[in-house]
């Protein structure tokens, strides 16, 4: 009986999830189709030339006919995002812990970081070109600079939010500093860190395009820039779609990792 009830509840849950999933896909899909059709019709009706505004069918065709080129650049962009973003996490999280645990770092270092964050990071691009030449490395560093700060700030909030009385309890257990970090502080702050990463990934995707505009010879930003200088409008719009796909991919990837790593929030 009990088994049946559980199975019944599960099947109901599945139906609800599927309905939810379908409705989440169908409604936006319908509105996108509607929007593209209006676009297609207007361009066709007013006979707008291709070099000014391409029709959706034009650039969708281009997207598939030149898919390998676009995918190559998309892959290069993705590698840059991943490298810069991981670098951001590996620097920001330990640094946040250091700043939170040291009063002098809090007073001395943090204001400097805040100031550096206020400075527009794209102006560093030309300097990076001088140092590292035109290439993905300069782009990686710009991506790192873009996503570093939100991760730092939210990690700091997370590390501070742990109730200090908990450490009385672990102290009575004889916990070492490392145990306190890995058993208590880090997992307790995980939700905040992911909050920072969610903002960080948006910044990273934004940053990578700018970085590739100014200081790269690979990637979607570079491809779009080149298409623009050749007035290759269909490739330009295909690049736009590819950039949107990359952004969507990274956002959902991060959300999935968060969902997997924070199971206590999903119950």
């Amino acid at each position: 009986m009990n088994y049946l009830r559980v199975a019944f509840q599960e099947s109901r849950l599945k139906v609800r999830l599927r309905a939810n999933w379908i409705s989440r896909i169908i409604y936006p899909a319908i509105s996108v189709m509607f929007f593209l059709s209006i676009w297609e019709l207007l361009v066709w009706f007013f006979e707008v030339p291709l070099w000014l505004v391409p029709k959706p069918t034009d650039f969708l065709n281009r997207f598939f006919s030149d898919f390998s080129l676009i995918a190559d650049h998309g892959a290069a962009t993705s590698v840059t995002i991943i490298s810069g973003f991981l670098l951001g996490i590996f620097v920001a999280v330990p640094l946040a812990l250091l700043i939170v645990s040291s009063n002098s770092l809090q007073r001395g270092l943090y204001p400097v970081i805040v100031f550096l964050n206020i400075m527009p990071k794209t102006v560093i691009g030309p300097i990076l070109i001088v140092w590292f030449g035109i290439g993905p490395l300069a782009a990686v560093i710009i991506v790192f600079l873009m996503c570093f700060f939100p991760i730092l700030v939210d990690s700091m909030t997370g590390f501070r939010a742990v109730d200090s009385r908990l450490f009385y309890i672990t102290k009575s257990m004889g916990a070492t500093t490392w145990q306190n970090f890995f058993f208590i502080r880090l997992p307790s702050s995980l939700q905040h860190i992911f909050g920072g990463m969610r903002i960080g990934i948006v910044k990273a995707v934004e940053g990578v395009m700018i970085a590739e505009f100014i200081s790269s010879n690979k990637g979607l930003g570079f491809m779009i820039m080149r298409a623009s200088s050749f007035m290759d409008m269909t490739l330009l719009f295909s690049g736009l779609i590819a950039a949107a796909i990359v952004a969507l991919l990274f956002n959902s990837l991060l959300l999935t990792i968060e969902w997997l790593m924070i199971p206590w929030e999903n119950q």
Partner: protein, 279 residues
């Protein structure tokens, strides 16, 4: 009603497979706590003398900010004394003792661990045998009415259940001393009465030394062998009341004619101290 002596005897023989540990004795002489230095110095506590026998259940009751929590942290070695000294089992206390379980008003459970894994934190950090502790946790969960809630996250539990898990975490390693800082302060009155009884039964079985901080006269009288009344700034112990009521004590403490005289005595002290100002 069960004879209390009987209960102790039965459980002692039941638990003979598990090692029985006697509660720790606590002795504090002239303990004073001053936070800060010079002009900023704040005299939080003392000097107080404290003598708690092995296996005794002692409550500290007093107005907010009278140094009750400081006292609790001092006898566990988690805070250092400014003056005076503390002895546990006649040994001078110099570092945090490990044979202690602590429960605060907030459950302080880790939200990312299930109930059972919150309790197993003791085993993981101390690096003790996992299998042995799993068995201990099972028994303890059953006694605390937590059976079936092992794999729930704190978020999925009620306030009373969370506090029970917190108590389980404080007891799983079989400490000699249980320190409770207003453990039921955040619970509703009905849950409080039940959990009070459950704690009493558990204590009768294990006879750990308990130092229990509370704001509730009913809780203090309902649980303790002895109630210490404290005054504030600086915190001092100003009265000591032996509660010689039979155990286990009922939900409705008014059954005992002595109860009203005990609570009247505490109310009178609070009125004299100006904690209560009734016209």
């Amino acid at each position: 009603m069960i004879e209390p002596a009987n209960t102790i005897f039965n459980s002692a023989s039941n638990a003979s497979s598990q090692e029985m540990k006697f509660g720790a004795s606590i002795r504090a002489i002239g303990v004073t706590k001053i936070y800060g230095k010079d002009q900023d110095a704040f005299h939080a506590l003392g000097p107080i003398d404290l003598e708690i026998k092995s296996g005794e259940f002692v409550s500290l009751i007093g107005p907010s900010g009278c140094g009750k929590s400081t006292t609790l942290l001092i006898v566990s070695g988690l805070e250092e004394v400014s003056q005076g000294y503390v002895e546990i089992n006649s040994e001078p206390l110099s570092k945090p003792i490990s044979e202690v379980g602590i429960v605060f008003q907030d459950h302080l459970l880790l939200e990312f661990r299930t109930a059972i894994r919150n309790v197993m934190l003791q085993q993981e950090i101390r690096g003790l045998s996992r299998i042995e502790f799993q068995e201990k946790a099972r028994i303890l969960f059953e006694k605390l009415g937590l059976k079936g809630f092992e794999d729930k996250y704190p978020k999925q539990l009620s306030g009373g259940m969370r506090q029970r898990v917190s108590i389980a975490r404080a007891l799983i390693h079989n400490p000699t001393m249980l320190l409770m800082d207003e453990p039921f302060g955040a619970l509703d009155a009905i849950t409080r009465t039940q959990i009070r009884h459950d704690l009493e039964m558990l204590w009768l079985e294990t006879k750990k030394t308990v130092l229990f901080i509370t704001h509730s006269i009913e809780e203090a009288v309902g649980l303790s062998d002895r109630v210490l009344v404290m005054s504030s700034s600086p915190g001092k112990i100003i009265d000591e009341i032996e509660i010689d009521l039979p155990r286990p004590r009922p939900a409705h403490l008014g059954d005992y004619p002595e109860f009203s005289s005990f609570s009247k005595r505490i109310y009178n002290i609070f009125e004299r101290l100006g904690v209560y100002r009734f016209n």
